[in-house]
Assembly symmetry: D2
Homo-oligomer: 145 residues x 4
């Protein structure tokens, strides 16, 4: 019998292993996957810069969206995004290291709300993302009865 | 004296030339930049896939966000995003070719609303993104009086 | 056999007749309920004013949300809101007459996107609301096979 | 010299006294206005019901939007909403008593993020609202140097 903590960790490892977009294309690291919580990190490189020479907002969104996926799947029930919104508060520059913490705010039946906060290495908030989740059939990894 | 169409085209060329994130990292093409309108295209490759083997929602957001930037800067007044929301309607697979059209809905003083619609090669709507813009000081490219 | 137009009209009459909040408390009128479209009107009275002596944003939201409900139920399949966002563009004053038009943007399977535009009597856009709908079981009014 | 707590309380009294929409039309009470926090309450009456005989979502939005206004003005600097989003989690019935707590999440320069949580008398979350604020010129009440 797994503990909720072990289950969440295995969800994280299982999902991250095949997440080319987050891992390889964006260069994210998964620092923690716990029950109702995930923590990811991404360094801003020249490849992330848009025409204003700041990190493309889409990649900040992508970091938060990935963190959301780990947090809302952490109970090993397949869960998808049903909607989201983001507020950008501060630009990110090349060389910045962005950390995103995702936290479950409420989970009732099939629907949950998760808040992701993206901060830079000085602890300043770069963006806040809110996701609404919907649980569907199946598990992230097979779990014995 | 430039026409609005010439001005928008030059905005597009100026911005896209230095937009590493959109052009190089994501592989987008800018098909049109017109007054209050932009059209971009992105083929979904294996590099865009997440752990579910579908295109990461963050990259669909990124395509729409880039299209928003071209559409709202098309009048050659520097304009930034003041907020946005996205609804995902259908997944995108490797091999799909996504097109995003962005259209100005309203522009009054400094604030505008732009709607971006991401479709696949079958014309099915993949996502709808709404952006609110705020005009700031300066121009995308210098323009004689 | 009803036409889509007759069906939508009857949906509007059925729903509006028992909608105390919209009709009595807020003083809205339902001007049209057509397939995938609704049109409502609300005059701003002193009862709608907040501490800044402008119409409370919540009541502008309420007008748009009601219009959304009529538009997305107009096919006589019970439909609920699955998410929404609003952008406020201009304040509304006592004496203003607000009109809200709601239009179906896409409808595929159970999910649709509807855009509501609130304008004042001068045709200026006051707010734009986007709603995502989900169709559930049942009909607004019973319809013979 | 006022303390931040005294200042927030006076902001609350000043604004609520003239907020016809919240106080009279909707029947809200302002339970607390503290630095970066506000608490409001509203009982759901038959006047709030829509055609489904549940509380109109627009009025739940209105409760959250009012709470947002008190929380973001609590430092006695005039502050307006620059954007917001809401997620509805559970319907509210006639007889329910809704409480909304609003909390400042981040405030940096002119821009802040506030989260409002609407709960019923059983402590169940009914809706979550996120507001982005922008500080403008002036004060809610005149304050000596």
């Amino acid at each position: 019998m797994m503990t909720p903590e072990q289950r969440a960790r295995q969800v994280g490892e299982t999902m991250f292993a095949v997440d080319t977009a987050s891992k390889d294309t964006m260069g994210m690291e998964l620092l923690a996957c716990e029950p109702g919580r995930a923590l990811m990190r991404m360094a801003v490189t020249p490849l992330h810069l848009n025409g204003h020479q700041i990190c493309h907002g889409g990649f900040i969104f992508t970091l938060a969206d990935s963190t959301f996926a780990f947090a809302c799947n952490s109970h090993n029930r397949n869960t998808v995004a049903a909607g989201c919104s983001i507020e950008f508060l501060r630009p990110a520059q090349a060389g910045d290291v962005l950390t995103c913490e995702g936290l479950e705010q409420t989970l009732s039946g099939r629907h949950g709300i998760y808040d992701m906060r993206v901060s830079n290495q000085r602890g300043e908030v770069v963006a806040m993302f809110r996701g609404k989740s919907a649980t569907i059939q199946g598990n992230v990894f097979p779990e014995g009865a």
